[in-house]
C-alpha cells in the first residue's frame, strides 16, 4: 500500500483524539454538575471537590486505559477514530490481541509522550504516518471510511460542553454554591492574614518590650 505524506491524516487523528478526550472528560464534568445540584451547604461542596480530585487523579486514568484497550481489541479503533473513518491495523495483517493493545497504549503512548509528545508529532514526518507507538506495536492507522462524521461529532460535543458548563454556572449561582466557596476562601484568607499580622505585631511588641527592659536595667545598674 502506498502512502502519501498527508497532513490531513494527522489532523484527522488529532480530531479523533480530541473527541475521545472530551468524551472521557465528561465523567468529571457530570460529577461537578451532580455536586452543584446535590450540595446543601458549603461543606457538601468541599467534600464534592475532594471526590472530584479523587476522580481526576485516581479514577479517570483507569477509565481512559480501559476505554482505549477495549475499543482497540473489539473495534480496532476508538469511537473518535471510528467517526473519523480510521482504523488501526497490524502491519502483518494479524488479529489484534490484548498484548498488542497493551504495547500500543500504556507503553507506546508513554514513549510517544516523552519530550513534549515528539512521538505523536512524528506522524507528520513518517512516510507511513506512524507515531512511535505505532512503530513499537507494529500497527498503522488507515482510512476506511468518510471522515465527515468526526467534525459533526466534535461540533456536537463542544455544544454539549457549552451547555453543561452554562448549566453548572447558572445552577451554582442560583444555589449559592460559588458565592459560598468564594466567601469561605476569602474568610480563610482574611483570617490567615490577620493571624500573620498579629504574629508580626506581637513580635514587634515583644522586641520593643525587651528594648525597654534592657534600657531600664542599664539605668538601674548605673544608679
Amino acid at each position: 500500500m502506498k502512502y502519501k505524506l498527508n497532513y490531513y491524516h494527522f489532523f484527522l487523528r488529532l480530531a479523533a483524539w480530541l473527541f475521545d478526550s472530551l468524551l472521557l472528560a465528561l465523567v468529571p464534568l457530570l460529577f461537578i454538575l451532580f455536586v452543584v445540584v446535590a450540595s446543601r451547604e458549603s461543606k457538601d461542596t468541599w467534600i464534592g471537590i475532594l471526590w472530584l480530585v479523587w476522580i481526576v487523579l485516581f479514577f479517570e486514568w483507569i477509565v481512559v486505559l480501559l476505554y482505549r484497550i477495549s475499543t482497540y481489541v473489539m473495534f480496532k479503533a476508538s469511537l473518535g477514530k471510528l467517526l473519523a473513518g480510521l482504523e488501526i491495523e497490524k502491519e502483518d495483517r494479524s488479529k489484534s490481541t490484548l498484548k498488542d493493545a497493551l504495547m500500543r497504549f500504556p507503553i507506546g503512548y508513554t514513549v510517544s509522550s516523552l519530550v513534549w509528545g515528539l512521538g505523536f508529532f512524528w506522524i507528520l514526518k513518517d512516510p507511513k504516518r506512524k507515531g512511535f507507538h505505532d512503530h513499537i506495536a507494529g500497527t498503522v492507522v488507515v482510512q476506511r471510511g468518510s471522515s465527515h462524521n468526526i467534525f459533526v461529532s466534535l461540533a456536537f460535543i463542544f455544544t454539549l460542553y457549552l451547555f453543561l458548563i452554562f448549566t453548572i454556572v447558572r445552577l451554582g449561582n442560583e444555589r449559592g454554591v460559588w458565592s459560598g466557596l468564594k466567601n469561605d476562601g476569602e474568610h480563610l484568607k482574611e483570617q490567615l492574614f490577620s493571624l500573620f499580622e498579629f504574629s508580626s505585631r506581637s513580635k514587634t511588641n515583644s522586641i520593643d518590650r525587651k528594648t525597654r527592659e534592657d534600657a531600664a536595667n542599664k539605668t538601674q545598674n548605673r544608679l
Binding site: K43, W46, I47, L50, W51, W54, L57, F58, F59, W61, I62, M103, P106, I107, T110, V111, L114, V115, W116, L118, G119, F132, H135, I136, A137, G138, N183, D184, H187, L188, E190, Q191, L192, S194, L195, F196, F198, S199, S202
Partner: protein, 350 residues
C-alpha cells in the same frame, strides 16, 4: 583494550541510528530515582502549627470582631478544617487509599517493565547497529519484550541478595556490640568488624554492579536464561573485573562531563530569563505594565519548554551512548581468544 576506539565507534553508531535515542530516553526517564520531595512538607506543617498556636494569643475582642465581620463561617480556621475532615465519609478514605495503592502499583509495574524493556532493546539494537544490520523501533521493541522478564529477575536476585547479605552482617555486628557491652574486653571486635563491613560493602557494591552489567549483556545479546546468565556473567566478572571497572569509570566520567554541560545550559537559561526580565522591566517603564507580562512570560515559557526538550533529548542520547559503550566493550572482549564461551568449564547449563 582500546577504549578510545570503543568510544569513537559508539558515538558514530549513536549519531547515525537515532532509534537508539528513543530507547535511551525511556531508560533515562525510568532509571532515575523519584527523589524525596517530602522534606518541605514537615517544615510547612510546623509553620502552620505555629500559626494555630499563636491564634490563642489573639485578644478576645479581636476574635469577636472577626466573627462579626465575616458572619456565618467560624472564626477559627483550625476548627473549620477539623469539622470538614470529620464530615468526610469513611467511603472517601477507603477510596483514597485504594486509589493511591492502585496508582503506586501501576506506576511501579510500568516503571519496571519500561526500564527492562528499554534496556534489552537498547543493548540488542546497539549490537545490530555495530554489525551494520537494520535497526528499528519495532525490532528493538520485540527484542526488549523477549528480554525484560529475565533482566528483571536477574536484577531482583542480585540486588536482593546484596541487600539481604548486608542486613545479616548488620545484625551480626549489632549482636556482637550487645555482647561486648557485657564482656568489655570484646569492645574492639565490633568496632573493627564495622570498619571491615563498611569496606566490604563498597567493594561488594562495585562487584555486584560489574556482575549486573555482564548479566544484562548476556541476557540481551546471547539470549541466555537468567540462571545461566548469572553464572556465566560471574565468570566474566572474575576474569575481566579491572577492565570492566575501567570502562565503568569512563562511562561515569562521561556522565560527570554531561552534568557540567547541563549546568552550563541551565546557567544560560537563567541568564536568558534574567535578560528577558530586565528587558520587560525596561519596556514597562517606557510603554506600560502589561508589556512586561505580554513579552516576558511567553518568552520564558518558550525558553523553558525548549530547555526541557533539549535536556530530555540529551539524557536519552547520553544513555544510548553509555549503553552502546558496554555493548562494544563486550564485543571487544569476545574477540579475545581467552574469552570463556558458554559450556566451558564452570558454565554448566541448569
Amino acid at each position: 583494550m582500546d577504549y578510545y576506539s570503543i568510544l569513537r565507534r559508539s558515538w558514530e553508531i549513536v549519531k547515525k541510528h537515532k532509534v537508539l535515542w528513543v530507547f535511551g530516553l525511556v531508560l533515562a526517564s525510568f532509571s532515575g530515582s523519584t527523589g524525596s520531595g517530602g522534606g518541605n512538607s514537615s517544615s510547612s506543617t510546623k509553620d502552620l502549627q505555629k500559626i494555630f498556636e499563636q491564634k490563642d494569643q489573639i485578644p478576645p475582642q479581636t476574635g469577636e470582631k472577626i466573627s462579626q465581620i465575616l458572619g456565618a463561617m467560624t472564626s477559627d480556621p483550625k476548627a473549620f478544617f477539623l469539622s470538614l475532615i470529620q464530615s468526610i465519609p469513611p467511603a472517601f478514605w477507603v477510596a483514597f487509599v485504594v486509589g493511591v495503592v492502585a496508582a503506586v502499583l501501576f506506576y511501579l509495574v510500568l516503571g519496571i517493565f519500561m526500564r527492562n524493556w528499554a534496556k534489552g532493546a537498547l543493548f540488542t539494537l546497539a549490537a545490530e547497529a555495530d554489525a551494520n544490520n537494520e535497526v528499528s523501533l519495532r525490532k528493538g521493541s520485540l527484542q526488549g519484550l523477549r528480554a525484560w522478564k529475565r533482566l528483571f529477575i536477574s536484577h531482583l536476585i542480585l540486588g536482593g541478595g546484596f541487600v539481604v547479605s548486608f542486613l545479616i552482617i548488620g545484625v551480626v555486628i549489632a549482636i556482637i556490640f550487645g555482647i561486648s557491652s557485657i564482656a568489655k574486653f570484646l569492645v574492639l571486635v565490633p568496632a573493627l568488624l564495622t570498619i571491615f563491613a563498611i569496606f566490604a560493602f563498597f567493594i561488594a557494591l562495585v562487584v555486584v554492579m560489574v556482575w549486573s552489567v555482564y548479566t544484562d549483556l548476556s541476557i540481551s545479546l546471547e539470549d541466555m536464561p537468567w540462571k545461566r546468565a548469572l553464572k556465566y556473567s560471574w565468570h566474566l566478572t572474575k576474569k575481566y573485573f579491572w577492565q570492566t571497572l575501567m570502562m565503568g569509570g569512563i562511562n561515569i566520567g562521561i556522565g560527570c562531563l554531561s552534568s557540567i554541560i547541563v549546568l552550563v545550559v541551565l546557567g544560560l537559561f537563567i541568564g536568558a530569563v534574567v535578560v528577558t526580565g530586565l528587558t520587560g522591566f525596561a519596556l514597562r517603564n517606557v510603554i506600560g505594565d502589561p508589556t512586561t507580562l505580554l513579552v516576558g512570560l511567553p518568552l520564558v515559557g518558550i525558553l523553558l519548554v525548549a530547555l526541557l526538550a533539549v535536556l530530555g533529548l540529551f539524557g536519552g542520547i547520553l544513555q544510548a551512548f553509555t549503553s552502546t559503550n558496554w555493548v562494544l566493550f563486550y564485543g571487544e572482549l569476545k574477540k579475545q581468544s581467552e574469552f570463556p564461551r558458554e559450556g566451558d568449564k564452570g558454565d554448566k547449563s541448569d
